[in-house]
């Protein structure tokens, strides 16, 4: 193929394309100002700006067409972008004709002059659309929403950025681990929209089929796989993938891909079916963790400042969990005189209290009534207090409670029954309580993932304790 003049000129498209965008939008705003105040000194500028804009739009259209000849783009998006771009060029020339000085006008266009601002507006709208599809072609369809915060994404039902797997051993290697990596980092150029180098990675068949330079994945042979070679080329190498300027694939992800290729690039195997070398194990484990749920804090409104002030004046510590967040830890470490009555102050900031440390204070079951009204509470310390069974029945509304410290309280088996209804509870500490093995086993039957610690650990005396060498 005669590549030199066409493709070379085509590659200038990304440069040229921004000129009409800037100039035509400029023309639109100048005309808008002129529209408000007729005969302003800005009026003559509109035509000139439009002329340059139109000329650059033509240039951009031509170079864009030449670039498209190189191929590798999603044809549907490409044709939309192409025709929108050409329409922009044509309407901009037309609008320029209408904005020229009246004396230069060919008579036929004169009646249309009334509508010239309308034409200009239509042209600007077309420009916006053409630009959007251009962006989709180069950056992929998810480019913008990918950068949204995780909460917003979840709200809109988009899939999370970070790959988190509930139980990694049960996960399917290709579908749950390898495919999401390729989707995130490769598919914008090698997928349904664009097939650079004739390579698409969005399905396993397409991946195994390979591209222009042949097979990219040789099952069982990592070093012979072009995919692996391209991923591990030194930075700055022209053949390295993803190319310069794009987010690179992390070294852990490369190791996972290499591992998958090494075990034969299976499409239907679960992690537990495959041999897991020692260096892969922690990476697999890390997929399970992701960022822990309780660690990613949502943006919530700040707590009532007056109530916080009052709590602090009492000697309580009120500390935000993270410097830009409004979730609070409240600790009575310096205020052992804390009583049930003081709970009133806490309910005023109820939505913000995530962690509450009331160990070694004078609270009783009455305080638990109020604690039960803290809907967001995740960690609760009431160790060494007079809290008992009745208090535990008040915690039903604490649906997010994960940690509960009841060391040295009056809790018995009866109270434990109330805890079966706490869905999020993960850890409970019952050292020095009057609970019995029967009560505990009933609780752990009701909530099998709950870790119960009753303590009372002892270390038997062994000979090594006393032998002096």
């Amino acid at each position: 193929m005669e590549e030199f003049p066409t493709l070379f000129l085509g590659r200038w498209h990304p440069l040229f394309v921004h000129l009409p965008i800037g100039m035509l939008i400029m023309a639109f705003f100048l005309a808008l100002l002129n529209q408000k105040k007729a005969g302003s000194p800005l009026a003559p500028a509109v035509a000139v700006t439009l002329l340059f804009g139109a000329a650059s739009a033509v240039l951009a259209s031509v170079s864009g067409y030449l670039l498209s000849l190189g191929g590798g783009y999603d044809t549907k998006t490409l044709s939309l972008h192409q025709w929108l771009g050409i329409s922009v060029a044509i309407t901009s020339i037309f609008t320029w004709l209408l904005y020229r000085r009246p004396s230069d006008h060919p008579g036929r266009l004169r009646p249309l002059r009334k509508f010239r601002f309308l034409f200009l507006s239509v042209m600007t709208a077309l420009l916006g659309l053409a630009g959007h599809f251009g962006g989709t072609l180069t950056h992929g369809p998810d480019y913008l929403i990918e950068a949204l915060p995780e909460q917003t994404r979840r709200l809109m039902g988009w899939q999370p950025k970070q790959l988190v797997i509930e139980n990694v051993q049960e996960a399917f290697v290709y579908a749950s681990i390898i495919q999401p990596i390729l989707k995130q980092r490769c598919e914008s150029c090698h997928g349904t929209k664009k097939k650079e180098g004739e390579l698409a990675l969005h399905t396993l068949d397409m991946l195994l089929q390979g591209g222009e330079s042949g097979q990219v994945v040789v099952p069982g042979k990592v070093t012979e796989s072009e995919l692996y070679r391209r991923l591990t080329l030194p930075e700055g190498d022209d053949d390295r993938m993803p190319p310069k300027g794009r987010t690179p694939i992390s070294s852990d992800q490369i190791k996972l891909i290499a591992w998958w290729i090494g075990v034969g690039a299976p499409g239907d195997k679960q992690v537990k079916d495959l041999e897991q070398p020692e260096d892969i194990q922690p990476i697999l484990l890390a997929l399970e963790g992701g960022e822990k749920e309780e660690m990613t804090l949502a943006d919530i409104p700040p707590a009532d400042a007056e109530a916080v002030q009052k709590l602090r004046a009492k000697g309580l510590k009120v500390i935000p969990l993270a410097e830009t967040k409004n979730q609070l830890m409240v600790s009575a470490v310096n205020h052992p005189e804390f009583t049930d009555q003081d709970m009133e102050l806490l309910t005023a900031i109820g939505e913000n209290v995530i962690q509450l440390k009331l160990g070694n204070t004078r609270i009783t079951d009455n305080a638990m009534q109020k604690i039960g009204q803290l809907p967001e509470l995740q960690r609760l310390h009431v160790e060494n207090t007079a809290v008992g069974d009745i208090g535990l029945t008040k915690l039903r509304a604490c649906k997010r409670l994960t940690y509960l410290n009841l060391v040295n309280t009056k809790v018995t088996d009866q109270g434990l029954a109330a805890l079966r209804e706490l869905p999020a509870l993960e850890r409970i500490y019952l050292y020095r309580t009057a609970t019995s093995p029967q009560g505990l086993s009933a609780l752990s039957r009701a909530n099998p993932k709950l870790a119960i610690d009753t303590g009372n650990y002892q270390l038997a005396v062994v000979p090594a304790d006393t032998i002096v060498y």
């Binding site: 963790g289 510590k317 410097e323 410290n405």
Partner: protein
């Protein structure tokens, strides 16, 4: 909140008179000149990290503050074994080394290496302990730590840690300040600078040493370096006054002390009303803290009231200055909201020069001294629901060679090993650390790392991460540039978090 701040600002503006403004200006211009003359030794920072919007009390340098993101660990207990215990007799099981026992070390291992004491060609020294696997995790452990074998499933082992220092002083400094030379803040100071102290009656950073012996690197290992000195570790002792000069002199009653402090604070407050200098507020807070500490510190440092079964668990004896007592104290301090408790034990420098430093004699005595207390510490933290939020770190400043030491190229009378910076073991537990993971592997004789090589900066980065800090953003401006604990290095050890 907004309203309060506005009011405060207005009051402040009213209080600044023209005369004060002029004095400030003169002093200000003068100090600018001074600062440039001194090459920026004093930064313009007030030494207080910015916290969340809700943080009041920003004028008190020890007020509790929030980390960058929600933390998994609230406190740290760091058990440092000064002298560097041998990983080959404790955690890193090398059966191959048995077979090579007493053979001459191959030249390939010696080429290009520098040792502290080994000269010429040393002989290999087989493991001086029997090993077994324990727990569900199957962690290898020597029979020198029979109690610790009960808790291996709570712990993550880093088996291929390396440092770049092979002498105790610099290596200890590196381990605790991230730099082998003097002048940097210790990790405990960084943490206190970042988080303040939760309990306003106790310091945020407490240091306990076994038998009151200071490590080779001196007190700089808990110094505050270029951070304000309020963040340095407070050394507490387990007999006599827990903090030096904490009790009042004869004839000074507590009431009189209160009156004196009240009088001083009244004058200081008046001074503040006139000049609005935040340094005055800091001073008031310090007086109050010192007064409160006089009651709180002796109380928390007293282990006599602990029940007998706790003493049995730890093997503690009230009134002694032992590692066991310090472990129990560490638990009590963390329980009271102290952020960072640093323990130093000593006598781990097993060169084999005498019975005390022989791997089959003195070393085993050291193992006995720490085995029960450190196991008890983990169990006690666990049963109180504290291990969940308390990060426990155990380690020395470097490891020891697979070769028998041959000081001055002569045979040694006892089994001993030289300093070895290339591969050693550190364990971590609690505070968000995975349970039962072994990360990193050394070659078949334990000489160098073959996988999972971990740098000291990686450990620091991981510790800060668990405390809620991004180690790359946690900086302090000094001499014209921001400083980090991890300098320009450090990667999170993902395998164990």
């Amino acid at each position: 909140m907004e309203k309060l701040l506005k009011e405060a600002r207005e009051a402040e503006l009213k209080a600044i008179t023209r005369r004060h403004f002029l004095t400030e200006c003169v002093a200000g211009v003068g100090s600018i000149a001074l600062v440039s003359m001194l090459g920026g030794c004093f930064s313009s920072h007030s030494g207080v990290r910015k916290g969340g919007d809700l943080l009041m009390d920003a004028l008190n340098p020890l007020a509790p503050r929030s980390p960058h993101f929600a933390a998994r660990a609230k406190s740290v207990i760091y058990l440092h074994m000064a002298g560097a215990p041998s990983q080959l007799e404790l955690f890193d099981y090398k059966p191959e080394l048995h077979k090579l026992h007493n053979q001459l070390c191959p030249q390939s291992l010696l080429a290009g290496k520098k040792f502290a004491f080994i000269r010429g060609v040393p002989k290999m020294l087989g493991p001086q302990a029997a090993f077994r696997q324990y727990g569900e995790s199957g962690a290898w452990l020597s029979d020198h730590l029979p109690h610790f074998s009960k808790v291996v499933d709570e712990v993550s082992f880093l088996k291929a840690v390396h440092t770049d220092q092979f002498n105790h002083g610099p290596a200890q400094l590196f381990m605790h300040t991230g730099h082998a030379r003097l002048g940097r803040p210790s990790i405990g100071s960084w943490v206190t600078y970042g988080l303040g102290t939760e309990n306003s009656n106790l310091p945020g950073f407490v240091v306990l040493t076994s038998g009151g012996k200071t490590p080779d690197a001196g007190k700089s290992v808990w110094g505050s370096g270029f951070l304000p000195s309020v963040y340095q570790g407070v050394q507490c002792r387990s007999h006599g006054d827990p903090v030096l000069y904490i009790s009042d002199p004869d004839g000074m009653s507590r009431d009189l002390k209160r009156k004196a402090i009240d009088a001083i604070n009244t004058v200081n407050r008046e001074e503040y009303e006139t000049y609005k200098d935040p340094e005055i507020l800091a001073r008031i807070a310090q007086y109050e803290m010192a007064y409160n500490m006089q009651v709180a510190v002796p109380e928390v440092m007293d282990i006599q009231n602990e029940p007998e079964y706790i003493h049995e668990l730890y093997g503690t004896q009230a009134g002694k200055e032992s590692f066991a007592n310090n472990c129990l104290l560490a638990r009590k301090l963390v329980e009271q909201g102290v952020r960072f408790v640093q323990l130093f034990d000593w006598g781990w420098d097993s060169h084999g020069t005498g019975p005390d430093t022989a791997l089959d004699l003195g070393f085993r005595n050291k193992c006995r001294e720490i085995d029960r207390p450190m196991t008890a510490l983990l169990l006690d933290l666990k049963q109180r629901g504290l291990l969940d939020e308390t990060l426990v770190v155990w380690g020395g400043e470097f490891g020891r060679t697979p070769m028998q030491e041959n000081r001055d190229n002569k045979d040694m009378p006892f089994a001993g090993r030289d300093h070895h910076p290339d591969a050693y073991t550190i364990w971590m537990a609690g505070g968000g650390i995975r349970k039962g993971v072994t990360w990193g592997e050394t070659d078949e004789i334990g000489f160098s790392a073959v996988s999972g090589r971990t740098a000291v900066h990686d450990i620091h980065a991981t510790m800060l991460h668990l405390l809620g800090f991004d180690h790359e953003k946690f900086t302090y401006e000094f001499q014209g540039r921001p400083f980090r604990l991890t300098d320009v290095e450090g990667h999170l050890i993902e395998a164990i978090i």
